[in-house]
């Protein structure tokens, strides 16, 4: 089954939103590269859940209002979105930049959350453990640094993007820079408020993540009160692609669906 694409409007802002499956709602917040291809990971989650994948404001074809200036603005926007979904609570999953947004949302208000899953989230900083400089790398370096298993990188590099794909990628890169350039991929205030996250939280990380080093998993685990940390061996920054089945299994076990 393929996901259905919707236009989702909250207040004056319309974003694209993909949905698949039925069941308890699970909202997935994408990373800096934009909405990923609909890999089996999503279909697997959609077996037992209604999976909703919005495209963040400023990314792809979603609206880009001038008032979205930082990750806090995006988090507040998603609190509005959650209020309007009609569900009492959702399982929130965020990857990388999306994990940062999810954490900013959760420290503000967990009322709409059933659980929180953070996959290699940005947002906090350990001095001496720098995130990779995705903005200075060439496209090839960036692609290679996304993966542990270079076969995935080779496959990605073999694909020449169409003009439309290249434009979308550039749009996403622009918005990612707006949100994450400085301070690079973190908010100095976030770490001291992580105790506000009151819902069960799963922190997933690829052991060989060259973008957000897996040393960060431990700090998230220490700061978020009800967190479980699970580091996936032989995996890079995109566990939902590189270890899709295992990642979906872990999330489904955590949120209480069958795998």
């Amino acid at each position: 089954m393929a996901p259905r694409e919707h236009k989702h409007k909250v207040r004056d802002l319309t974003v694209r939103l993909w949905r698949e499956g039925t069941g308890a709602p699970l909202v997935y917040l994408h990373g800096a590269a934009g909405v990923p291809p609909w890999v089996p990971f999503f279909t697997q989650l959609a077996g037992t859940h209604e999976v909703l994948v919005p495209e963040h404001p400023g990314f792809g074809m979603s609206d880009n209002p001038a008032w979205i200036r930082n990750v806090g603005d995006v988090a507040m926007y998603y609190l509005d979105v959650l209020d309007g979904l009609g569900a009492d609570r959702v399982h929130l999953v965020g990857h990388s930049l999306g994990g940062w947004i999810a954490a900013e949302l959760a420290v503000r208000n967990c009322a709409r959350l059933a659980s929180l899953t953070l996959i290699a989230p940005a947002g906090i900083r350990i001095k001496g453990v720098l995130s990779g400089d995705n903005f200075i790398w060439s496209p090839e370096e960036l692609t290679r640094n996304l993966f542990h298993d270079q076969a995935f990188a080779e496959k990605m590099l073999a694909h020449t993007p169409s003009e439309e794909e290249a434009d979308l990628a550039l749009t996403n890169r622009f918005m990612a820079a707006k949100l994450g350039w400085e301070p690079r991929w973190f908010n100095p205030a976030l770490e001291r408020w992580l105790h506000r996250i009151s819902v069960p939280t799963l922190v997933l990380w690829g052991a060989d993540d060259k973008i957000m080093p897996s040393q960060y998993a431990e700090l998230w685990g220490a700061r978020v009160p009800r967190a479980t940390v699970d580091v996936i061996p032989a995996c890079g920054h995109l566990p939902f692609i590189e270890k899709g089945d295992a990642t979906a299994d872990k999330i489904l076990r955590f949120v209480g669906g069958k795998s």
């Binding site: 200075i136 060439s138 550039l170 749009t171 890169r173 707006k178 350039w181 690079r184």
Partner: protein
């Protein structure tokens, strides 16, 4: 014409083999490759050249700002300007420019320019730029807000120069309860402002607007682009309801003059090719960080770049062919420069007579030849 002698102050002793082991001569080039003894010699040679330009009759001597690079050793160009004030007495001193978005308190820039203006008794020309993309990697400033910060910093600096202080400044990026410049600038209402640019249409429109009428300089571009952008400024001025004067227009170009075309090429080759291929060349990701230009112009640039294919070294011949550099006998150089002057009506020529690895002896000869054999013919 009004002649400016402009210097970048490159680090010539750079080991080029080592240089090309790194992605650029900027930001990530290990500073172990900088030798302070050699570097100090470079500063002294270059300051001598700038001071000598006044003796040769240049109207303006000029410096600019770049960070963390062998391309130019002036992260703080006002320090050089301050030294030059003591070494000169009549030439104007242009700092073209300071990169406004890179600082967190633009009042510092307003203060330093005001100091230089007082120290020189009104010989300062200021320049405002955004800095090239590399500087956003060097400083960490978010390129997404580069345009906003430039506009706001400009407004703040001009207000600091012209409005009676103290006054509050309330912006998006800069918020100050007390703006109250001591010293105020020497020139009234404020020192001239030049806008060096690669030529974005937004910048041209902004610089040409009647309340500003800033001198617009096209930097390091081929002759067709220079003509296109300067004429765009003219048209823009006409749309605003006035005729742009030649003093509002100019372009910057590396120039080399020798007694024959052949000799000029031979002597200029290593310097010109190193400027463009070793010092200036940087990967796309450094030069064009996301947000540095608008999304639509970045998309256009990317398409253009794709159609150009892989980057290769520029030869002197290619650089001359496009008119990015001017190299030849006095007659050749006169002809080339006067053609572009006549096509644009521009009255400002910003020459770069030391470029890349060009040594002191050839730089001096080039300066003397230009001053004696080219300048008088173009004065008009």
């Amino acid at each position: 014409m009004r002649f400016t002698f402009f210097h970048l102050m490159p680090y010539r002793p750079l080991d080029m083999t080592e240089r090309h082991k790194h992605r650029a001569g900027w930001v990530v080039l290990p500073n172990a490759l900088y030798d302070p003894k050699n570097g100090a010699d470079e500063y002294h040679s270059y300051i001598d050249q700038l001071a000598y330009a006044e003796q040769l009759g240049f109207d303006v001597i000029a410096v600019n700002e770049h960070h963390q690079t062998a391309y130019g050793l002036m992260p703080a160009p006002n320090l050089i300007a301050s030294a030059l004030i003591q070494r000169t007495s009549k030439a104007k001193l242009a700092i073209v420019g300071r990169a406004l978005p890179l600082v967190n308190n633009p009042v510092n820039i307003a203060e330093e320019f005001a100091m230089l203006d007082n120290l020189s008794r009104g010989r300062i020309i200021t320049g405002f730029v955004r800095g090239i993309g590399n500087e956003y990697h060097a400083t960490g400033i978010n390129p997404s807000f580069s345009h906003e910060r430039f506009q706001e910093a400009h407004d703040l600096i001009v207000a600091a120069w012209t409005k009676p202080g103290p006054f509050p400044f309330e912006g998006e990026h800069y918020n100050l309860r007390y703006v109250n410049l001591w010293p105020r600038p020497y020139q009234q209402p404020h020192p001239p402002i030049w806008i060096p640019s690669m030529g974005s249409s937004e910048t041209i429109k902004w610089a040409a607007s009647p309340e500003r009428k800033y001198t617009f300089l096209v930097t390091f571009s081929g002759r067709d682009l220079v003509a296109r952008y300067l004429n765009l400024y003219r048209q823009q001025a006409q749309e605003f309801g006035y005729e742009a004067s030649g003093d509002q227009l100019g372009w910057a170009s590396p120039v080399y003059v020798a007694d024959t075309d052949g000799r000029a090429k031979e002597e200029a080759r290593a310097g010109m090719e190193s400027l463009f291929n070793d010092f200036l060349a940087v990967p796309w990701e450094m030069l064009m960080p996301p947000g540095y230009t608008s999304l639509s112009s970045m998309k256009n640039t990317m398409r253009m770049r794709k159609s150009l294919g892989a980057r290769k070294r520029h030869s002197l011949e290619e650089l001359m062919e496009s008119g990015t550099v001017v190299v030849g006998s006095p007659q050749t150089v006169r002809d080339e420069l006067s053609r572009l002057r006549d096509a644009t009506g521009a009255n400002n020529l910003v020459t770069m007579l030391q470029f890349g690895v060009l040594d002191d002896v050839h730089t001096k000869r080039n300066m003397e030849m230009f001053a004696a054999e080219v300048m008088p013919h173009l004065r008009g």
